[in-house]
Amino acid sequence: MFAFFVRRLAQAALVMFVISVIAFSIQDNLGDPLREMVGQSVSEEERQALRDKMGLNDPFFVQYWRFLKNALQGDLGTSYFFKRPAVDVILDKLPATLELVFGASLIIIVFSVPIGVFAAINPRHWFSKFAMAVSTVGISIPVFLTAIMSIYIFSVELGWLPSFGRGETVEIFGGWTTGFLTWDGLVHLILPCIALSSIMLPLFIRLIRAEMLEVLESEYVKFAWAKGLSPKRVWFVHALKNTLLPVITVGGVQIGTLIAFTILTETVFQWPGMGFLFLEAVNRVDTPLIIAYLIVVGLIFVVTNTIVDLVYGLVNPTVKLARPHGGDG
């Protein structure tokens, strides 16, 4: 068990290291920090002197080491556009993105588990067939199209819901602004959250149904029936528990996809989150901001993924602890 933990943490550190090397080489190649600082009017000798002084002529590894030391202290440079530390700019936008992800996850969990379980218990029920058909269509609609179409229907044609922005937000603590506590904020959350959950929801419904069907066929469930347990107990205590295990792993794998989808959703709804900020930074070639986004998102992603894996290792006694690279997890 301990070895599994250590190995998993080592892998997380390795991934983070690779991300930092990539981020650093982007910084190294993209844009000239000197030009951003002094403009065009400085002579070549002065430039060279400044370059030496700033350490821009140092070898790659020396520069990387410096970058790493600063990064570990939370210093990823100053955004060219905002003239503020890039990490601060990103962290300002973090609540907006996290609330979007939270809202979408809530929709996914609240709907996928009951529908998936119902479809597995009653495979021939009309609702199950309907749900599966809708899921198949749902999986085929790209996130940004769901977003656009929901804007067209509910904002442009019907005029029921707002089409962009976060609406009214309140600050709760430490600069965290939330849209969950005002009516206007909640109304603004509806469409983006639905759009963000629109591909994951059918995916999870199908997954939960498939896993549940498999579990219901297994020996121990048959044995539970033979013992004469009530259907509810068999379904919800015996079967559901083992259904949710693989779902956790898939959930972990989907975190990266969910982050990518926030970029799409935020672009369509002009949601003032990290993804929207990132695309703006790309268009402005705001290198420090691009790097800060990479590192922050990479960190969120590595941490959540590691936690999911560790939890899975704790919960599931059959996971191959000695050989976590066995492959079939």
Binding site: I148, Y152, V156, N283, I290, H325, G327
Partner: protein, 307 residues
């Protein structure tokens, strides 16, 4: 020879199942219409959307024929630049489909080779490659592609980028998704490796490369076939998403995604068709591919690698 093969195919269980499945037949027919229509675009399309001399800005934002203000010259109306939407969609679908297919070919070549190596040799090579695959998969194709293309665009400037867009999209989507094939192939190789025919050819003294590609690979084809349909659909969706973000095909040579992007701002002023019609074309294309993929999976029923 061909006639015999054809006869065998007509009598096979596969064809039998196909004929009884209305959804599969419909999907297949729609798929064929798509492929024929978009690759015959120069013959079918009434206009050439890449020819700036025939585009008239005065024709911009004309609604589809059947709506008020529609013009019989433009079946599905025109976009913001005055291009015939029907022609532009045909050409755009061709680009989307081409990128999708080429990207999947690249995925296939990379993934199948690495999957064969991983499964056949096992040991350290296997655990290294599979760990790499796990990590890469968890990052999500779209995320990797967005970051890579964004950085590339920022590095080389928009002009050069627009010329290389098709190639870049194929490369990025192709490289990012190799683990899907590698895992599937590896799982089948592990099952095949235990069989006697592999021992037999090994005893005969054939080289590993020959054993892998000539003897094991043909027996892993059905799972490859199953995931390929879905992979093309996924690649098309990724391409559309990237183009929608402005990281893919330029508006002057639009794929379905960039067409949707170029029309997005106009839905607020009522010109919904520029976005919604290409959107529906994209959804139907992806849907029929997914349905065909489901059908293949149910019929060939290989023990697909989980997830």
């Amino acid at each position: 020879m061909v006639a015999v093969k054809w006869q065998q195919f007509m009598e096979s269980a596969f064809y039998h199942d196909f004929r009884r499945d209305k959804i599969a037949i419909t999907s297949f027919v729609i798929m064929c219409i798509y492929v024929v229509a978009c690759y015959a675009a120069p013959l079918i399309a009434p206009y050439n959307p890449y020819d700036p001399t025939i585009i008239d800005i005065m024709d911009s934002e004309i609604p589809p024929m059947w709506l008020d203000g529609g013009n019989s010259r433009f079946l599905l109306g025109t976009d913001a630049q005055g291009r015939d939407l029907f022609s532009t969609i045909l050409y755009g679908t061709r680009i989307s489909l081409t990128i999708g297919i080429c990207a999947v070919l690249l995925q296939g070549v990379l993934g199948i080779s690495l999957g064969l190596i991983s499964g056949y040799f096992g040991g350290r090579v296997d655990s290294f490659l599979m760990r790499l695959a796990d990590i890469q998969l968890s990052f999500s194709t779209l995320m990797v592609a967005i970051i890579f293309l964004a950085v590339f665009q920022a590095l080389f400037g928009t002009e050069l980028y627009e010329r290389l867009a098709i190639l870049m999209l194929i490369l990025v989507i192709g490289i990012a998704e190799w683990p899907q094939y590698a895992r599937t192939v590896r799982a089948s190789v592990l099952a095949e490796k235990k069989k006697e025919y592999v021992d037999a050819v090994r005893v005969v003294g054939l080289r590993p490369v020959r054993i892998m590609f000539r003897h094991i690979l043909p027996n892993t084809l059905s799972p490859i076939l199953v995931i390929s349909t879905v992979q093309v659909a996924n690649a098309i969706v990724s391409e559309a998403a990237l183009s929608f973000l402005g990281l893919g095909m330029p508006v002057s040579k639009p794929s379905l995604g960039s067409l949707i992007n170029s029309g997005f701002e106009f839905i607020f002023s009522g010109s919904w068709w520029i976005t919604i019609i290409p959107g529906i074309v994209l959804i139907v294309l992806v849907l029929v591919m997914n349905l065909l993929g489901d059908f293949l999976r149910d019929v060939l029923n290989p023990k697909l690698y989980k997830n």
